[in-house]
């Protein structure tokens, strides 16, 4: 719209409207622009809106709630520092997924490697005399968790984003910076490996 130059004249003092209704929910695009212009409250609203999903991804990739908490916290502070560089062409959530998963991969690479024999029996079912079906289901989930922990970091990220978060291949490629073909390859290898490790449970 065309800008109009207002001529300054004495005028009746306008009464300012009351502060905004708290139920006015602002979309991500608006919150991002405001945060980029230094509005700290807008950034807090973004962080609160996205933290659950980002934490969930971090927990499933690292397998460790404490590390996931650190990854989430560092990722959010990092996002604030770099928000000026965020271009609105990708979704904010895609950008945040990338920051968090990069942090998680960095943490995984710093850990000591999991010994091969720990991974090999990761999927074994419990002893046959274990009675309760409920205990077996919990044990199965724990076995899956250990199996996921045996995956290479880049496979783990792609697999979690696909199978736990339900993201499309194109978005996962945008998040990881890998080609869609590479993403499919990593997911395939992860699926094959997990199916093999979890086969005793079928």
């Amino acid at each position: 719209m065309e800008a109009v130059r207002e001529r300054m004249e004495p005028r009746v003092v306008e009464k300012l409207p009351t502060p905004p209704r708290p139920d006015v929910a602002l979309d991500d695009a608006t919150l991002v622009v405001r945060a980029q212009e230094g509005d700290v409250r807008a950034f807090e609203a973004l962080a609160r809106r996205h933290q659950a999903v980002l934490y969930r991804v971090a927990v499933r990739v690292t397998g460790d709630p404490a590390e996931a908490e650190d990854a989430l916290q560092e990722a959010l502070v990092d996002a604030w520092r770099r928000i000026g560089a965020f271009r609105g062409d990708a979704a904010f959530s895609t950008w945040m997924y990338r920051i968090v998963t990069n942090r998680c991969v960095g943490m995984l690479r710093k850990r000591r490697p999991v010994p091969v024999d720990e991974v090999a029996d990761a999927g074994l079912p419990p002893a046959p005399d274990d009675p309760a079906r409920a205990a077996q289901i919990d044990a199965e989930l724990a076995a899956l968790g250990r199996a996921i922990a045996g995956l290479a970091a880049d496979q783990r990220v792609c697999w979690v984003l696909r199978e736990m978060e339900g993201l499309g291949y194109e978005e996962i490629a945008a998040i990881t910076g890998a080609s869609e073909t590479a993403v499919r390859g990593r997911i395939h290898r992860a699926r094959t490996r997990l199916a093999e490790v979890m086969r005793p449970w079928r």
Partner: protein
């Protein structure tokens, strides 16, 4: 019996010298008393995060806290910078001017100093 400030050319009388820290505290108390000042800069974090008790600057120095004020004394004059937080409904320009005036009056009266006061309105609370 008390301290008497040395007049020009006088010798033998005790000189009252008010240092930076004392000036800062005098300025801080005066600034906080100005209507429209919600808190000084150091409380910005609590003010933004909505922590209760932020308005009265609860820290280890209590009501005399000089956080948010920087002062430098040279001769009979002081340069003071005050960082404040105000709220919607106030006029930032007018509150800042009122702080300049309150701090000047306080420093002249309590410390005998001419003050050059500069105010920074760091935040305007919207709720």
């Amino acid at each position: 019996m008390g301290l008497r400030r040395a007049g020009p050319g006088e010798s033998g009388a005790v000189t009252l010298h008010v240092g930076d820290a004392a000036v800062a505290r005098i300025a801080a108390v005066a600034a906080r008393g100005v209507p429209g000042v919600v808190s000084l800069r150091a409380d910005l974090a609590q003010a933004l995060l909505g922590v209760a008790g932020a308005v009265f600057g609860q820290d280890r120095d209590g009501v005399l806290s000089a956080d948010g004020v920087s002062a430098q004394v040279h001769g009979g004059a002081a340069d003071v910078t005050v960082t404040i937080v105000t709220r919607l409904g106030e006029n930032c320009r007018d509150v800042a001017i009122a702080v300049q005036e309150a701090v000047s009056v306080a420093l002249a009266g309590q410390a005998g100093l001419d003050a050059q006061v500069s105010v920074l309105v760091a935040d305007v609370l919207l709720t």
